[in-house]
């Protein structure tokens, strides 16, 4: 009986087949490609969004444009100073006057039937004063971009 078992074992070295490894890695790759978006340029401002509890998740990334408000990071402080600035895309702009063009540039990439669903996500540093935020809001209202999202982090329950 025991000899019968021994016979079945082959002498050659047992190897694990790695033929399916590429498939697994490709699956991971596609997963990451789907759930992530390409990094949009460089962040030139320091933006730490405040905490909040009543959050809504933004659904479609293609319908969202981002406006950043914060103080320039150290690297750019020499050029742009330390006062709060606005960043559109990967550019720090002079003021809210540049927003309408930015919105229009995003709008042309969206089918016309979905223009009403475009949301502007305001990623604003918590330490910025409301003055600049107000100017941006007025500009958004003037450009008829009324759907806003005040980007915020989920507040941890322990700290509540």
């Amino acid at each position: 009986m025991s000899s019968h078992f021994q016979k079945k074992r082959s002498d050659s070295k047992p190897t694990v087949s790695t033929a399916s490894l590429p498939d697994i890695v490709f699956m991971l790759l596609f997963f990451f490609m789907v759930v992530t978006v390409l990094r949009q340029g460089e962040m030139k401002l320091k933006v730490v969004t405040p905490d909040a509890t009543q959050l809504t998740k933004l659904q479609e990334k293609s319908l969202v444009n981002y406006i950043y408000i914060g103080r320039p990071i150290e690297k750019y402080a020499k050029v742009y100073g330390t006062k709060p600035r606005i960043q559109l895309g990967d550019q720090i702009v002079d003021g809210p006057a540049n927003i309408p063009l930015f919105l229009e540039q995003h709008k042309v990439k969206v089918p016309e039937s979905r223009h009403a669903l475009i949301t502007t996500s305001l990623r604003i540093d918590g330490n910025v004063t409301m003055g600049i935020v107000q100017d941006v809001k007025v500009m958004l209202r003037k450009s008829n971009q009324l759907r806003l999202n005040y980007s915020a982090k989920k507040k941890e329950l322990a700290s509540m």
């Binding site: 790759l29 405040p50 509890t53 809504t56 540093d125 409301m130 003055g131 209202r141 806003l148 005040y150």
Partner: protein, 185 residues
């Protein structure tokens, strides 16, 4: 000559696929580095349309207005009295629903108006916290109403007419006044 070549190619017809995994890993790592998992969450707001003419001062009954002021020192003034952020939600809820039919709170949830005003020097963090508390008040009221009526908490997955019914009963009216320009940086 011809014979030789054909015999050569007969040796192995398989392409070595072991480097495929390396290539795929390389791609994977490239994507991991260049992408970010943005989970963009936030407070959704709908702004009123812009009009050049200043709005007519509405004749509102003072009891229907819940005025919240945030000054440039990030202090709160609720209906003329200093207040804390913690009590804002409870007070707003009581004001909207007026469960004990008090004379100085809103006549009905449909008539309640929350007015938020800030300085240009108010920090964004404080502003958002106040906004968050006021929204939380409405969210909780909608939840309570929804639980009472339909037995489920309020959510965006509910049928549209359910949501309309609840929002019709407790509409969120949050008006933001032009900020005063104190403490501008």
């Amino acid at each position: 000559m011809l014979k030789k070549r054909s015999s050569k190619s007969r040796g192995s017809t398989e392409i070595n696929a072991s480097s495929m995994a390396d290539i795929a890993f390389l791609l994977l790592i490239f994507f991991l580095v260049t992408t970010q998992i943005v989970e963009d969450k936030g407070i959704l707001v709908k702004l009123p349309p812009w009009s050049e003419v200043p709005p007519d001062p509405l004749k509102l009954i003072p009891r229907n207005v819940f005025a919240v002021l945030v000054n440039s020192n990030n202090q709160l003034l609720v209906r003329g009295e200093p207040a804390n952020l913690d009590e804002l939600k409870t007070r707003a809820k009581e004001f909207i629903m007026n469960p004990t039919q008090r004379e100085d709170l809103s006549q009905a949830p449909t008539k309640a108006i929350i007015s938020l005003k800030n300085d240009r020097g108010t920090s964004y963090q404080t502003y958002l916290q106040v906004y968050n508390e006021l929204k939380a008040a409405y969210d909780e009221l909608w939840d309570e109403e929804s639980l009472r009526k339909y037995g489920v908490p309020y959510s965006d997955d509910m049928p549209l007419d359910y949501r309309k019914e609840i929002k019709g009963k407790i509409p969120m009216v949050l008006s933001e006044a032009e900020p005063t320009s104190y403490g501008e940086e």
